[in-house]
Structures are given as C-alpha cells and as structure tokens.
Symmetry: C2
Subunit: 137 residues, 2 copies
C-alpha cells in the first residue's frame, strides 16, 4: 500500500449484544458466545477449521473513533490519559479488534465461537490459528 | 464499513531484510530486531510505550496475494493444501501480519523492537499491548 489499503469483510459477527455500551470489555469478561457468518466467496479459506481450535479473530471495530490518540484506560477517569497504542481502546487510528476464541461448532458458513465482545454486525477481517511452539508449526 | 474500510499506515518497518524469500517465517525463527518508524501525526498514540513492554505489531503484508484461499502450510508440498484461515500464510484475503515483539528502545518516533519477520518497508497498521490477566488491565 502507498497511503491506504482497502479491507474487505470475510464475515460478520452475529451476537446477542448489539449495544457497545452493554458489551464486555474483553472476551473473557462475560462476553457471550457468537457466530461468525462467513462471506460465501471466502468460505473455502475456513475449510480446515475444526471444533476445539484456538483462533484469533480480527475484526473491524466500525463504531470506533479513528481520530482518538489518547484515552483514560477502560474509561476510568481515575487513570491517567494514555496513548492508545499502550491500551486496548477500540478508538485508535486503525480500529482493529483482536479476539482470542475457541471454535465450538462449524455449521456450513457459520462458525460458532466462544466468548467474544464484538457487537452484532461487526465485520470480521481475518481468522488465524493461535501459534503453537516452533516444532508444532 | 459497508463493503470496504481504508487502512492508513501508522508507521513503517525498517529492517535489514528486504527480500521476502530471505525473511524468517516467524519472529522467533531467527528474525532480526527492527525499527518501527512512526508517522509523525500518530506519534502521540505511542507516548506511553516503555522499553520492556510486550507488544503486538499489526502490519499490512503488502507483497501478499489476496486471492489465495488455500496453501501448503509453510510452503511444504508434503503437507496437504489447507484453507488459509487455518494457517499463518501471508497470502489471505486481508493480509494482516501479527507479530509479538518486545520494545527495546524508544528514540523519538523510532521504536526499536525485538525479532520481527516483516521485511523492510512493510506498513505498520496498529500497535497493542499484550494483555495481562484480567486484574492487571
């Protein structure tokens, strides 16, 4: 890329949580299981995913503010304003969400995964396996 | 995003390795230390990063093929063709690289970080702290 690159959704998060104000701050802080509904033309990329796999979902946090460079961590005004690269704030120049999940069930193009705080309708931009040690790669 | 979202570089990898064919496959497989040269207008987002921090660099693997949906893992033709979401292949619909590094030194807008396999000139699109346990967040 020179100045910009264009992301394309590879799927969408389907969650019982639609309101960012009601979402958990991280997947292991009470977030519900969700479905990743794959875009049909990229579904072959998911052909070898199996229940039990530990995965990283990358999402595009489409409700975030891209001009924010510093925040109170976790919205706690008692904590000093901190540059966003030292936080997991969704507000950042490229609002990419990173979510560690376990694959629970594969139902055609619908991947059921464990706790994920991304709200309903969040675009999924990549899926990667959690890396094992070097001799398992 | 509806169909696409536009990424903007927040920095660039400066590495002694320019040839993808000569690059390590992962950061812990012999990759050199590199510099992340921040774009000046986002440098405030990095204000609170400190040497010793464990970070995730997200990069845009600009030399990758976005139409590839399956590969031989690690280019090994003895391994069966596998959907890219079950691999760390750079060739994938949105070629985002995920690199765990340690911050070694901060020199103005230049962040010196430990072993990273991204080649010289790779755009950096986000920097995140590695998450500690829930009570450390």
């Amino acid at each position: 890329m020179n100045d910009v690159a264009q992301l394309r959704p590879v799927g969408w998060v389907r969650s019982s949580v639609a309101d960012p104000g009601a979402a958990a701050r991280q997947g292991d802080e009470g977030a519900p299981d969700v479905v990743v509904e794959l875009v049909p033309d990229v579904a072959p990329a998911a052909a070898d995913l199996r229940p039990g796999d530990e995965l990283l979902l990358l999402t595009w946090l489409h409700l975030a503010d891209r001009d924010t460079l510093a925040v109170h961590p976790r919205g706690d005004v008692d904590r000093p304003v901190t540059g966003v690269f030292a936080t997991r704030s969704p507000d950042r120049p490229n609002p990419i969400g990173l979510h560690r999940v376990q694959l629970l069930e594969v139902d055609g193009p619908r991947l059921h995964v464990s706790g994920c705080e991304a709200v309903d309708g969040t675009p999924v931009i990549d899926i990667k396996p959690v890396l094992g040690t070097a001799d398992e790669r």
